[in-house]
């Protein structure tokens, strides 16, 4: 039961994961690794949602997380398709070498 897990622990883990995700998204150059860091941030948000949902005794948090997971699946498939198409054009997925949209 959440009775034994304080909400502050949940938020701590969630915040730490989110910070790691941000650092990863900013520091990596491989597009797929950046994408992985974004997935990590989404999971940190899910953890906070579930923590609050359990602490308040409602199921809305779980419903939201359910939708987030569904959207993450859609996002991953489209994003990876973009990477495949990009790789076909440029032979790389290093984000510093992809500057088609730079002025």
């Amino acid at each position: 039961m959440i009775g034994n897990v304080p909400l502050s622990d949940v938020l701590l883990v969630s915040g730490a994961l989110f910070a790691i995700g941000i650092a990863g998204a900013l520091l990596r150059r491989n597009a797929i690794q950046i994408f992985l860091a974004i997935e990590l941030m989404m999971n940190a948000a899910n953890l906070a949602l579930l923590g609050y949902g359990a602490a308040m005794g409602t199921r809305e948090g779980q419903i939201l997380v359910f939708f987030v997971i569904a959207i993450a699946a859609a996002e991953a498939s489209v994003g990876l398709a973009i990477f495949v198409a990009l790789f076909r054009h440029t032979e790389t997925i290093d984000v510093n070498k992809i500057n088609l949209l730079k002025w």
């Binding site: 502050s8 994961l17 992985l36 953890l47 409602t58 859609a74």
Partner: protein
């Protein structure tokens, strides 16, 4: 006891997330993230969400990350090579993000010293097993959202197909 397990699982998740970010080899990154997601599934169980924990393992660790691994091996991208360019803007923003979130964490810790004690759930949850109650909610109050998500998934399917198809022109 629950708290001990939660903290241990959270620690595992944080450590492997850190490994994921630090490593240069993308395949190792994906594998560390799988471990982190399994640890997160453990924490979800402790937060009274066994159904979401199952989804985490099946959809996230099972499907999405396998898709990542598949694309990674399809494209055959090697480890990132250090190119000797210093990136002051990225480093600055990265450390700024870490500082901001460390401050946020400290604030949360101080604010939630004792007063955010979790409400022991007076749930109407007890009468139905978890997935059944969730499904009842999903197909009554959130039916419209559910249908919207299914349209979104269809759009993503079509979009991914169009994007990844070998174009006739090129």
């Amino acid at each position: 006891m629950d708290r001990l397990i939660f903290d241990a699982a959270g620690l595992v998740a944080i450590v492997f997330a850190g490994l994921m970010v630090v490593g240069r080899n993308p395949v190792k990154s994906v594998l560390s993230l799988v471990v982190a997601f399994f640890a997160l599934a453990v924490t979800y169980v402790l937060l009274l969400s066994p159904f979401i924990a199952a989804l985490q393992v099946i959809v996230y660790a099972g499907a999405i990350l396998v898709l990542f691994l598949f694309v990674l091996m399809l494209l055959n991208v090697g480890p990132e090579q250090p190119d000797g360019i210093r990136r002051p803007i990225q480093m600055g923003l990265g450390s700024l993000a870490v500082v901001v979130f460390a401050g946020l964490l400290l604030g949360m810790l101080r604010a939630s010293g004792s007063n955010v004690s979790p409400v022991p759930s007076p749930t109407p949850a007890a009468e139905l097993p978890d997935p059944a109650a969730l499904a009842r909610l999903l197909f009554s109050d959130y039916l419209l959202h559910f249908e919207a998500i299914s349209v979104l998934l269809l759009a993503a399917l079509v979009g991914a197909f169009v994007l990844a198809r070998r174009g006739e022109a090129s």
